[in-house]
Symmetry: none
Subunit: 193 residues, 4 copies
DNA sequence: TATGAATGAGTCTTCATTCAT
DNA sequence: GATGAATGAAGACTCATTCAT
């Protein structure tokens, strides 16, 4: 609701955040200049500073967008799912679509530019990330109770997230395998038996 | 033996590469200045360029060291192992010790600074990486044949490497769990039944 | 009129080009630092790069200014001149005034810093130079037809330009001989009989 | 005779001076590094400093070589020539062969790197140059007395030297015209009638 | 003489940020 | 909000020169 909320209103801000997400993913945060950012939205570099106080603030906004959007999508998918098995599947599908789908650069930036976030900004992002991971933990616990996955769910959560994050390094949707198929096969590897 | 081999002789070079590994891991490649590198080995920044032509050449040397050292350790461990199960375990143990053990920063740099490597230097590193992953593939294939893991070994390889790489983001040897124990538990999650 | 035209408008650019002309002439291009250039116009060295992309771009602008300004002056003088003899005289007068007159450093830079121009920038400057030399060639041909000079006008053109260029090495307007008188005496040496 | 005489003995010194002449001509003095110089004679850069105290000393040696060698050649040619006309021709031939002939880079360096010579080294070189120009002056005076050239010989000397110097900018022995022919045609332009 | 390693001052250039208009 | 111009600190890299061996 507030003016400071990067995830809504203020179309110029959002336009910038989306453009930044793509640039940060493609070139890296450090290698992306404030001029690049300006060019991408038709603004002079100096003008950006009426929307964001610093370049890092843009980075944080990108990350916040990535994680909150994904969290929202996961929450929605989980509430649609009926069985523990369907919910488990939702974890894989939502995460991979967010990471590998079209212009979904924001989440990837969160993974690979973490080191560029200042100590003061980290706590806020960690809260958002924990919210996302809490959904994972609940779902995995249910799945374990249902005998679908092994019971070491805390380690399993970290293991699976690592696997999924890593897909950006090798998956390039060149026909062979759709994102949905990939999600199914990764789910398959996780299931007991 | 060759003068061009960054992984041996030439003590000054090696000293620098090791110091660079730690700095690149801790601060990131972009944020590490050549002055930082010089200070770390007691040299003026300009003097580095007697040993390396560019800063990027140092990065490449770090990565080459990380991957070749790990490959050698894995090869040695595999040749010591008797059973498919022991070999499988070696994958987890060697990888995690290389990644999380003391001053083993080099491999981590390989994972997180890939984007800073120029297009011309990438192919050489990819060759080294493929050599490492080939050992993984062989071992996983044997394990699958022995009924230890699921048969989708190509995806399994990527999945497992992703899981292991990701440990650097959350594992900080604070007592609770040793690296060896972690390796065992991650192996456990992977085994069928 | 165009933004890219270094020879007009954009007063800061022109101011810089003029200051650079003098510095490049006096100290040489290589020995002139961007700090020197900045100081000369009251700017930080980094600020120059808002106006020019590289130091070499400044050099090229200086040269372009030198040759185009001289060409324009020659064209004007030739159109004012009535006889072949008067036109011939204009060649000497305009060239020497451009080269030896007050703050006319730009043309001299063109002569003595040619080696510092990159291969990509040379063609553009050569076009400008050829335009200037074409005026010379026409005028010499007319003079030869009128029996004023020897008929080997292509070699004559090169010979005369060499003579005139060289004056910067020995002429220092210390009273004895004005630039106009020098021009007249050099013309005299060229005339038949 | 002395150890400091760059024009004789000490083959390593001479080898270096000759190599330097070519490099300085081709790349310019400022752009030629001491490493380039070392490479050209199979020496490490540091080793050069056992032969010359500074890089500039090498430049001065190159220039001294260029001008003294040319002076000697001119003196020899003049003593062989019988008539004023033959002597006049010798000026053109010797100068152009020295400037444009094979590996005769040294004289050209003298013309184009003068600005890089320190104030302390200039007087010595000027003495050498004056010796050369004195031969020119004498010869031109004789020629004027014989009615071969116009009587303004001081200006004529400068004019002719400028013309000849400039040839390096446009003459590239591509068949059409030999150096000897060029000398003859330039002489022709200078003669009265 | 020669080398290999190091120095240290200096170079051009980059870039996030500021600010008067 | 937006611009264009400027800042100033920092960056990687260069290079003549030195010197212990």
């Amino acid at each position: 609701m507030s003016k400071e909320n990067a995830t809504e209103d203020n179309s110029r801000r959002m336009e910038l955040v989306r453009a930044a997400a793509r640039l940060f993913r493609d070139q890296g945060y450090e290698r992306t200049t404030v001029r690049d950012l300006g060019n991408a939205v038709g603004l002079q570099s100096g003008s950006l500073f009426y929307h964001f106080r610093t370049k890092e603030e843009i980075l944080v906004a990108v990350m916040a967008l990535g994680i909150t959007a994904t969290t929202e999508q996961l929450a929605a998918a989980l509430s649609r799912a009926k069985t523990p098995r369907d919910k488990l599947a939702a974890l894989f599908h939502v995460h991979l679509h967010s990471l590998l789908g079209d212009n979904q650069a924001a989440l990837e930036v969160m993974l690979y530019e973490w080191r560029s976030v200042s100590a003061t900004a980290k706590p806020g992002l960690i809260v958002l990330r924990d919210r996302y991971e809490a959904l994972w933990q609940e779902t995995l616990d249910e799945a374990a109770a249902a005998g679908l996955v092994k019971p070491d769910t805390r380690l399993l959560r970290r293991t699976l997230l690592g696997s999924l994050h890593w897909t950006v390094q090798w998956y390039h949707g060149n026909g062979e395998l759709s994102v949905a198929e990939l999600a199914d096969r990764m789910l398959e590897l996780t299931l007991i038996a």
